[in-house]
């Protein structure tokens, strides 16, 4: 049997190295710390990053907060945004890119503005998370407004299967609630209000004070 080399997926493990296969110009020097004179930074972005830097003994500790600020402003950690943050922090853009590519919540590609993370880890998948993700995929149907992805354990196994809708934890989500949920997100309404984690009482009967207890 002959093997066709083009069919062998190389570096398929690289979940943590996006951009691994991108073309790189090896002749080019790495970017240095951006020059403030030629890098215009929006005033509010600069103020936010500087305020974060002031909170730590070492300014580089503000890397994640700075990248969050960039992401809030531009929707993702865009090369321009990263360069602006690097300019304020006096580090190289490469330093911040290295940080951005390490963390799951920092987007290094443009994404939809509605973050919809579905936990697909053990506890949730025992309760049907894979089916939930498939149903959501179908309902969202490639809408570029959505950033729908399966996510590792979100720390809410008590409401499995669950999703994080723009940071709001919702669950357990039944398959027939999927159209309603997606419609609510599109309309900018609170997602499935009755199923939000914030309103859930503790499961431990000893903790109940006002006749609360397990749902």
């Amino acid at each position: 049997m002959t093997i066709d080399p083009s069919r062998i997926a190389r570096f398929e493990h690289g979940s943590r190295i996006p951009g691994w296969d991108d073309a790189v110009d090896l002749e080019k020097d790495p970017a240095g710390v951006p020059d403030p004179a030629s890098t215009p930074v929006p005033e509010d972005l600069r103020a936010e990053i500087e305020a974060q830097m002031a909170r730590y003994p070492d300014r580089r500790s503000a890397a994640i907060p700075a990248l969050y600020a960039v992401q809030r402003r531009y929707g993702w950690c865009s090369p321009e945004g990263v360069e602006q943050a690097a300019c304020v922090m006096r580090v190289t853009p490469g330093y911040l890119t290295a940080v951005a590519t390490f963390y799951d919540m920092l987007e290094t590609r443009p994404v939809g503005r509605h973050a919809l993370y579905v936990c697909t880890n053990i506890s949730c998948s025992l309760c049907g998370a894979d089916e939930l993700l498939a149903a959501l995929r179908e309902e969202v149907d490639g809408d570029p407004d959505f950033n729908l992805r399966g996510f590792e354990c979100l720390g809410a196994c008590d409401i499995a299967p669950m999703a994080s809708v723009n940071g709001q934890y919702v669950g357990p989500i039944a398959l027939d609630e999927v159209p309603e949920l997606v419609a609510q997100i599109r309309a900018g309404e609170p997602p499935l209000p009755a199923k939000q984690l914030e309103r859930r009482p503790s499961a431990d009967p000893k903790a109940a004070v006002h006749g609360g207890g397990a749902a």
Binding site: H13, S15, R16, I17, R55, Y56, P57, D58, R59, R60, S61, A62, A63, I64, P65, L67, Y68, A98, V99, F102, Y103, D104, M105, L106, Y117, T120, N121, I122, S123, S125, L126, C127, F151, E152, C153, L154, G155, A156, C157, D158, I159, A160, S164, G167, Q168, Y169, L197, E198, P201, S202, A203, D204, K206, A207, A208, V209, H210, G212, A214
Partner: protein, 428 residues
Amino acid sequence: MTDILLLEGIDEPGLATIEGYERRGGYQALRKALRMPQADLVDQLKVSGLRGRGGAGFSMGMKASFLPQGDMQKYVVVNADESEPGTFKDRELMQKNPHQLIEGIVIAAYAVGATKSFIYIRGEYEHQADVLDAAIAEAYARGYLGESVLGSGVTCELHLHRGAGAYICGEETGLLDSLEGKRGNPRLKPPFPANQGLFQGPTLINNVETLSTVPHIVTMGAEEYARIGVQNSSGTKLVSVSGNVRRPGNYEIELGMRSRDIIYGLAGGPPEGRDVKLWFPGGSSSPVLTKDDLDLSYDFDTLAKAGTMLGSGAIIVVDDSNSVVDVCHKLAKFYAHESCGKCTPCREGTSWTVKMVGRIKDGTATPMDLDIMASVQDHIIGNCLCVLGDAMAMPVASMIAKFRGEFEAQIEAARERREQAFLTGVGA
């Protein structure tokens, strides 16, 4: 014997505000602690027998006593990067009773002489981070935090740092690197954080639940606290029960409770007509147990003797409608995704395990693959800077050891399916 401390009145409206917490007697433990000499406070923590609730189960008092004495910048770092699959106890504590945690931090910081503290919370917990931010602002306004806590001259600054989604940042040195603004790669140990931690300063790192327990120890006295639970496992523990159970959630138990009473009694057991097939006693990183082990006492030593660990106290129950191969595949995929890639045995071992379990599922595996898989696990354990690789290797190895027959049956069944499909193709 009391068995509810951390969750007491947790659903009381307004508990998350400083008025609500003070109404329940909050911050009295801090007043009491500030009147005690620092060395006595560390001794109290030792006497209490409190063991870390984050996973390793190391004595908190011992850890605190490892920090050097003297006039230098020391730090307290709170590990709130709760990412161990199955664990969601810290989430509830931070969301519903943030001041209990803050009080614990201030007491611990005073005990070890740290003037700066950080809470490292995982980025996904946005609501909990907002609650904590508000609580920290309240505590500053009331003088529980700041340059002179309650006028005692003790300084305690506290700052919340949000992570951005990486399991490895729950590992203490990975967390420190992340907090310093780098990629969250674990460091070589020693030096341990108690000597050289955050910004090279001596650092006490503890889990949210551990620090939330500290005010209770100060209030009731270490001897009294040590009487709760069993030998070498004192106190109460939050267990997060999830998976195939009827009433998933956080339950506070006295350590030494029978596991069956937790899974069946508190959490309601598997759904009607189903039986427990396997369960993880302490998060997905702990070697699995079967239904024959349900009568084990739930404490650190008993579980260690049974070849597994109490870990973070997250019980994941898998019932007999699930295939152990699927569970193994999910588990291995998680660790392969979260491996930071710094150490070769973990980076390669996790991804090869995923491929081999995948082969078992799609029918291209041979029974020899099981032996290779088991040997890969052997090569990971103990060969990396941190225990992320071990955290996959131990449960995978235990699943192969305990359910080998099922793995082999699945290999054979999948192979037959493939053969049939091939023969049908040839015939057509």
